[in-house]
Amino acid sequence: MTGYQTPSTRDSVNEWARRLPEKLLEVSNLRTYFFTEAGVVKALDGMSLEVNKGQAVGLVGESGSGKSVTAQSVLRIVPRPGRIVDGSIRFEGEELLAKSDDEMRKLRGPKMAIVFQDPTTSLNPVFTVERQLTDILTLHRDLTKEAASKRALSLLEHVGIQEPEKRLKTYPHELSGGMKQRIAIARALSCEPTLLFADEPTTNLDVTIQAQVLELLKQLQKELNMTMVMITHDMGIIADMTERVTVLYAGKVMEVADTSTLFKSPKHPYTEALLKAVPSVKQTRALEVIPGNIPNLIEPPSGCVFHPRCKFAKDICMKQEPPLEKVDERHYVACHLWRELKLEGRG
């Protein structure tokens, strides 16, 4: 990460506004539950998300807030004992939850793909780099082995791997973390997906490598005119990479806004707390932490799920679940008190 920067300083938002927004992904009221022996874990409980074509959208929240489950639900690869129990996921105007397994399988890869957090475990340890890449190519495209290898080579060049010919023949354990993540990115992009989920793609990398990988993702997104959903807990990455953000907490949406708006004038106490938990160079005060932990998702708190950790919580917060209310055309918040609260932004 290269310091703190709000997107308002760049013209990406204006550029986006000029384009006609075309909805690519529309998730509404999604409920994904995990049926464990201890009880039903409500990982996503009425989640919604909208992504326009060509946009980079952020999905932010603490561990366990349901960020990754959102990506898994859209791709319909939620691991057992998880199941999507309710809601709608529309992609390019079509309802994904109505599709058969086989139809979904054909969408994964050419239409949507995901880059996982840890490249050490997301690459098959017994495959060479070449095979990691060609396996998908031969699956979705009618390519000969030679053609697939050629494409693998150009993919490696594309993601900035030095000496790509040599690397094709190596195994994942012979490569560094950054290189592995580049290969995982190359693999995700091999069939030129319309929508890419990046699930904390830099969390397991060194800081310097992080910046490189983020830069690569940004550049690829522009080049391929790809839509990207950036999943992270790092508000710095959000500021750097995205145009619009959805703040998730305990499987529910707390706030949705353009990234610059969210940083300047957050309306939800949780968003404010997240922003205050980010260190900055100029900062002289101590870093503020959010007290407590993410709640037990088997028996979530009554009313607003955030109320046990919210310093502004009132009676109504314990009793009633706040709906997602409109602040303005592009800004929504789920808090009873957003009109009265004076929250501090940053940047």
Binding site: K106, I114, L123, I136, R187
Partner: protein
């Protein structure tokens, strides 16, 4: 004597290799399916594997060999022994493959392959099974020795194919004359020892060689 021992080598290796080939294929397929899928099929496969794992194999092999030789497949000879050995010998591999599959199917690289459109069978046999092959190959190598040894026991006890020369049969024939003509039993016996030792060492070597982390 020497030529008979040498000639038996061919037959014994045939028994060991053929039985191993069949058990490995069977074990991998059964184990992989039982480990990957959930539900009735996998429960049934696991049950069958467990049954084959706990029954006293040697006794049944002897029984089967005798019954089948007398009744049904008279002309099959050594191949009958191979089939019987294979029929009773696949459960060990199936267990290992099942366990490994169970563990590997939760790994992120499987999820990653799934997220890129791989279907169940592709995931199982192209992504998961190759990860299990090195232990399977090592165990199969050890199995070769095991099957040869079992065949020796079967023939020595006189339940083998009387018309094909094997080390067990030589031992069986030489045993009554151990006091007067010890070499008749000794050399086939030594052949068994070296053969089994050889395959065991080979299994050991393979387990090092197949470990990609030890590879340069």
């Amino acid at each position: 004597m020497f030529s008979e021992t040498v000639d038996s080598t061919r037959n014994d290796l045939y028994v060991g290799l053929a039985a191993t080939l069949i058990t490995t294929l069977l074990g991998v397929v059964v184990g992989a399916l039982a480990g990957y899928f959930k539900g009735v099929v996998s429960d049934v496969l696991l049950g069958v594997t467990q049954v084959f794992f706990v029954i006293p194999v040697l006794l049944l092999i002897l029984l089967f060999a005798r019954v089948f030789q007398a009744l049904v497949f008279k002309g099959l000879g050594l191949t009958l022994i191979v089939l019987i050995l294979a029929f009773f010998g696949w459960s060990g591999i199936a267990f290992i493959v099942r366990g490994e599959t169970f563990k590997l199917k939760e790994m992120e690289f499987v999820q990653a392959a799934r997220s890129l459109g791989a279907g169940s069978y592709r995931l199982l046999f192209r992504h998961i099974v190759p990860n299990i092959l090195s232990p399977v190959i090592v165990i199969s190598t050890l199995n070769i020795a095991g099957f040869i040894l079992t065949e020796v026991v079967v023939s020595f006890l006189g339940f083998g194919d009387p018309n094909t020369s094997t080390w067990g049969l030589l031992l069986n024939e030489g045993f009554p004359f151990v006091r007067t003509a010890w070499w008749v039993s000794l050399f086939p016996g030594l052949a068994v020892v070296f053969c089994v030792l050889g395959f065991n060492l080979m299994g050991d070597g393979l387990s090092d060689a197949l470990n990609p982390r030890l590879r340069e």
